[in-house]
């Protein structure tokens, strides 16, 4: 009896995942079968005409997440190295705690801060500085008027949000690197940095990549904070100053106002695409992290 009950609870996890996949796929089917590949490639999202192409949202999700990773990864790895290798013991706990706290702040609170602090700061100072002072305004990436709500704002806020995930996985992976590895490098006369670059990081590499992918998984699916700062516009623009859309924010914004069944199904299809992408990213990430952790134990 006891065994039966715990098995049933354990079974609930695969069942939940399968049920989730089926429900979303079934609801998405009408839109996917109606628009086929154009659902992924078309930029036309017209609820009145009933024509739906999610390309801008897919593009926005990819660009904002990539931007977040570009900003967050070096910082997160820097923090992890500092904490696992250099920080004096009295500093280690508090700094690790503060960075972990970033992960505890609710998404909607980030969004609130984004609307009232980050976006105005970008509009007043950062965007003019980038386009006028640094003369980047002529490049396609920083052109156009500075409204504030933009791909750049989304990327920045996502960077802050995924940083703790990347850094805590990296820290754990670095801790799993055997001492002998470090001692051998130091004994060969390596400086502290050479030890890390030559002996520790290569050993931990696939785990760190796993951590980055976990961060990517978070960034791809992050909803509230992005919805509040990205500007929500169905357009693909190469400029980071332009407003955009992500798959998650598209669902959050339009779902409760969906006008007809096809609109609803199209939003479900966006959810299905998002689901598929995040599952793939997460599976790869977990496999990489597990591999390193098992190596460390062996």
């Amino acid at each position: 009896m006891y065994r039966f009950i715990t098995t049933a609870f354990a079974l609930s996890i695969p069942l939940l995942l399968v049920l989730l996949g089926i429900e979303v796929a079934v609801a998405a089917w009408p839109a996917l079968s109606a628009f086929k590949l154009s659902f992924l490639t078309s930029s036309r999202w017209d609820a009145v005409e009933g024509v739906f192409g999610a390309a801008p949202a897919i593009y926005g999700t990819l660009v904002s997440s990539a931007l977040a990773l570009v900003i967050a990864t070096p910082l997160a790895i820097g923090v992890a190295i500092f904490l696992s290798e250099f920080a004096p013991p009295w500093l280690r706990q508090p700094v690790a705690f503060l960075v972990d706290l970033l992960a505890a702040i609710p998404s909607v609170v980030y969004g609130l801060w984004g609307i009232f602090v980050l976006v105005p700061a970008l509009r007043e100072y950062v965007m003019p500085f980038l386009s006028d002072r640094l003369h980047l305004g002529n490049t396609p990436f920083f052109s156009g008027p500075a409204y504030g709500p933009s791909m750049l704002a989304a990327g920045l806020i996502l960077a802050i949000m995924v940083l703790p995930y990347i850094s805590s996985v990296t820290r754990e992976v670095l801790m799993a690197v055997p001492r002998s590895q470090r001692e051998a490098a130091l004994a060969l006369g390596a400086t502290r940095w050479e030890m890390i670059w030559g002996a520790v990081l290569p050993y931990a590499r696939s785990g760190i990549v796993g951590g980055i992918l976990l961060g990517l998984g978070r960034a791809l699916g992050e909803t509230m904070a992005v919805t509040m700062v990205i500007g929500n516009r169905h357009e693909i623009s190469s400029s980071l100053f332009a407003p955009g859309y992500t798959m998650a924010s598209l669902i959050a914004n339009e779902f409760s106002e969906a006008t007809n069944d096809m609109h609803l199904s199209a939003l479900m299809a966006v959810g299905a695409v998002l689901l598929l992408v995040t599952v793939i990213v997460n599976v790869i990430a977990r496999l990489l992290v597990w591999r390193v952790e098992r190596q460390g134990k062996a």
Partner: protein, 287 residues
């Protein structure tokens, strides 16, 4: 190691010092946003926080004052519903994983719970809508609670499993040798020994779902009125903060800040309690 660099020892040391310095800079940059957010939240939130916030109902646009009493109640109810489903299932699944460590099925469940854990909360939200709201054609607190439970289960499962693994095998063996049946060993010896750790895991999971907004948008939906029914739409702090933050009204903005401060305080207190609970436990273990 790769080919030894042909640089002077001075240059190498300098380079090393610079890189170490950069990791320090990275650490400062990483903690800066947290301090900025916390500082502003306390400043803006505290100035608009009043007793009314906890006891009064939201007021229509144009009238000053008003609070989030219904949203606070809603958050408490949603957490209660989610915990009453998510905790037993998660702890049970964790027990199973810890006891059937080597099996293929346990591996699969562990893996899938990690995958489930990484799913975007908005996807859980539309799933709950499709599964629970669409068939009955109305939003409800129950649907919101179940959506949150789905997010809780994988978290609780993994922490429970890890805590149970820390229980020495000798304890379990001693109980079995005394003739205890398996279920009694698991529930009265193993689970009880690991309890503080499991409570910590549960608290961490509660802290995480307390701030979730996306799964609630299409399930609990939000409600401007006082509601205690699990069958009606219900408000929650995160939903209310979102609604107020994207509104164009200044009074609502300041209420959003107050709400964010209260929500963050709630989440941080739960996480801190969880953190210190484990810490003292591990310290106790070394004595």
């Amino acid at each position: 190691m790769s080919r030894p660099p042909r640089r002077s020892i001075r240059g190498r040391r300098a380079r090393s010092a610079v890189m170490v310095g950069l990791t320090v800079v990275a650490s400062i940059l990483a903690t800066l946003p947290l301090l900025l957010i916390l500082g502003l939240l306390i400043q803006k939130g505290a100035s608009s926080l009043s007793w009314d916030f906890f006891t009064a109902m939201p007021k229509p646009v144009g009238e000053t004052g008003g609070g989030m009493a219904n949203a606070i109640l809603g958050t408490v109810m949603l957490i209660a519903i989610a915990s009453s489903i998510g905790l037993p299932v998660g702890i049970g699944a964790g027990l199973y994983l810890a006891e059937h460590r080597g099996t293929k099925f346990a591996f699969l469940v562990r893996f899938l719970s990690d995958v489930l854990n990484g799913l975007p909360s908005i996807v859980v939200g539309i799933f709950a809508w499709q599964f629970l709201v669409r068939p009955v054609k109305h939003f409800s607190a129950l649907a919101g609670g179940i959506a949150l439970a789905a997010m809780m289960i994988p978290l609780v499962t993994r922490t429970t499993e890890e805590m149970i693994r820390l229980v020495p095998a000798s304890l379990r063996e001693a109980a079995l040798a005394l003739g205890y049946p398996r279920w009694r060993t698991s529930l009265t010896i193993v689970l009880r020994t690991a309890l503080p750790g499991i409570v910590t895991g549960a608290l961490v999971a509660v802290a995480r779902i307390a701030g979730e907004t996306a799964p609630l948008l299409f399930t609990a939906f939000g409600n401007q009125f006082w509601s205690t029914s699990v069958n009606e739409p219900i408000s929650a702090l995160p939903i209310q903060i979102f609604t107020y933050a994207i509104s164009p009204y200044d009074e609502w903005h300041s209420l959003a800040w107050a709400g964010a401060l209260v929500l963050l305080a709630l989440v941080l207190v739960i996480s801190l309690v969880a953190r210190f609970a484990t810490r003292s436990r591990f310290r106790g273990g070394h004595d």
